[in-house]
Symmetry: C2
Amino acid sequence: TPMTNRNMSAKASAGRLDGKLREKTLTLDTLNPQVKAVEYAVRGPIVIKAGEIERYLEEGGTKPFSEVIKANIGDAHAMGQKPITFLRQVVALCTFPELMDSPSFPEDAKRRARRILQGCGGHSLGSYSASPGVECIRKDIAAYIEQRDEGVPSDWENIYLTTGASDGIMTILRLLVSGKDSSRTGVMIPIPQYPLYSAAISEMDAVQVNYYLDEDNCWALDINELHRSYQAAKQHCQPRVICIINPGNPTGQVQSKKCIEEVLHFAYEENLFVMSDEVYQDNVYAPDCQFHSFKKVLYEMGPEYFNSVELVSFHSTSKGYTGECGFRGGYMEVINMDPEVKAQLVKLLSVRLCPPLAGQAAMDVIVNPPQPEEHTFKQFHQEKSSVLGALAEKAKLTEKILNAVPGIKCNPVQGAMYAFPRIFIPPKAVEEAKALGMQPDMLYCLRLLEETGICVVPGSGFGQKDGTYHFRMTILPSIEKLKVLLGKVRDFHIGFLKEYSGLE
Amino acid sequence: TPMTNRNMSAKASAGRLDGKLREKTLTLDTLNPQVKAVEYAVRGPIVIKAGEIERYLEEGGTKPFSEVIKANIGDAHAMGQKPITFLRQVVALCTFPELMDSPSFPEDAKRRARRILQGCGGHSLGSYSASPGVECIRKDIAAYIEQRDEGVPSDWENIYLTTGASDGIMTILRLLVSGKDSSRTGVMIPIPQYPLYSAAISEMDAVQVNYYLDEDNCWALDINELHRSYQAAKQHCQPRVICIINPGNPTGQVQSKKCIEEVLHFAYEENLFVMSDEVYQDNVYAPDCQFHSFKKVLYEMGPEYFNSVELVSFHSTSKGYTGECGFRGGYMEVINMDPEVKAQLVKLLSVRLCPPLAGQAAMDVIVNPPQPEEHTFKQFHQEKSSVLGALAEKAKLTEKILNAVPGIKCNPVQGAMYAFPRIFIPPKAVEEAKALGMQPDMLYCLRLLEETGICVVPGSGFGQKDGTYHFRMTILPSIEKLKVLLGKVRDFHIGFLKEYSGLE
């Protein structure tokens, strides 16, 4: 007999519950503890606070500033950077192929869009692609890599499109970190690091193995520190993978070729799987620096290395000169992976079906941009140079202004899109933070936000040597805005020092 | 002193290795065993085989057929379905806002695109959105749900955009399944099921708790079977969550209101978290069936239920009448989630930054389509009705043709986009399959593929009662193609029966 609603309700409130609210199934106590352990400072408490202040201002509230400047995340377009016209033309053509008939779209863009659509089921961006991505895009990426690496061969079947680089990084870690005995899998990461790594390690319950970058040496990676870190970790886990971010996030250093050789040699010797986060490969500003891909360096070390070290390199549409974060495009190139494991990787990717097609198309434009002989080259080149030129200028400017502030020391921003200055925090402020149960640089950044509207991320969110304090800020605001921002940081810092040094 | 390449190579080959290849770090033996355990039939071995045959044909090889028809996956555009013009116009306008000046784009589309861009950082689809999605899109979704559910309130802050529905389902399971004692967390799923569920359960090392749908009763969900399944599972795990797919995938049934009430009452009584996969909510074809959302039914059961049962409902751009799989758009509505858990959910989402913006925009069009008073309504309505009308016709056609084949029995395709016919497999074929270490319906589907080029998925990939065999095929090919396809299935089946019944 069917129960009526009334019957069920009556049973429910009269029965087991006695009028009390039913207990929740999912509470903080029953939540997966590994989720609880995850921290992600780039969008953490300070950013939530910034959002609150933003809403407060919108609703007519007043603050000593008129807008919140979100320098917490590498979100170029949100900071006013304009999209690369050609990229958007290709994606728009793929999205709405009726535009192929429009004379306002260049033939170069149409040719690329046609080619991409040719690779899509039903010639539509609305079809699933194969899980590793659209075949012709994978081929374009392989061709790009060969060119970038001056002829080092790249096999398109080693290329896997991803949903941003984060997705690729999580997927590869998932292969490496076992659930059951996961507490034994060590993952070596730089400190300071981009907190996707620590978050993934927490979520998967692996062991985070820190190797510290050398702040006094422009955040260089010191091979001796790698050995120290590895040996120390060996006591309590099995380090199986080493992650490198080059150019560095949040630290902005660009690794030398020699340093990369040393890392690869170390990985070779210790049988480590290498994950090389190279999403900032187009973001190198310092004239004496150059991007060297881990793959090319591995190749040049000879076949014993090139045919054996397992290496995955990640790239993305979100950074570089395009800054297309919202498209969630990216790829990874997988070298020397065991063929049986590769089949497992494809299987794992297939559960999520495929990366977004618009992001795949955007990635294709990045690896296959207008060539000098094409009509669209001039505008494309202009737009690209303008973005990269401005970033180089802002990198210099940021370093210079910050280093002129007493109690702030900022390494050169050789690449990527962040400054990670060291800040002196007076002992009194450290004490106050501790009393509040807060990291000292969190206190600092919260004060900065509340007094100036500038949102930066505390160094503690990336990791830093004990007793040192930093923050990460992007160099993405326009030059004018950046100058104002840096001026405010300076004034705030001086005031903060005064206040906590008892000089006020 | 810097090592030269030669030095390192010499050391490497002369040292530890003695000329032998360095061992791989990551092999099938050291791979995360939970990844190994994952199975995903929809893109499994049979689909890999189909791809091989496709390539063989392209390269000039010959088969008894000229093309492979992929009826394995609900990929509408790949099967020739055309995109909804209005949706693509809005997304193209968002992608390339210069088109706002084009007279060939309707004002209705421009208005929506402007509104979406207004909600994006820097008014660009290239910015990250907030991790739960663009605010105005969340609001549009909430308004859509209120309208769909005839006034049942929906709070936009309970809406989270996702990267397709799969991403949302994985995320919610991640909260519920603990790593450390995960083998104690039971996840109740229907059998047959969409294998994302079993794959996620394997990956997270939870316990799969099967409840069987009643094939003899048009795949209805029987409440007694839920009780049986729950009690049996209690012996070895703690069932914490029940997953429902309505309309059903692969089974095509549409749940009655009474049945949904019973499920919700059961979840209430047993303190289960409810995950309701409603991605086919627009795909109901049987005239006597209607889509009832779990949320609306919960509301109508009264406040004791509506204010307590934790429910998440999933939707997607990939199905319905749009079939925009490649955009990887979707959302989930989260009801009665503990506020502290919600904060943890937002944190977890933030690690992946945000769902793709083009997919978010596509989702917005689906929940905010042209209204009768808008100029674009007529064309939109025509396109939508044409897709849904054809699907309804194909649902009927498929059922009818399959049921006319001796040894095939197909329940009515009330909704979704698949037929899941039961097939009789002669004992001799079952034996042969077993000798080959293969499921009998895998043997059947492989033979079907090799003899006809038709790619369908064996029932064993979805789960089925022991001793019964099925396959899943989509009803997405055009009517003409579908007729040919079903004719080939019929002929194949008759031949297969003859062969293995010793009649040949």
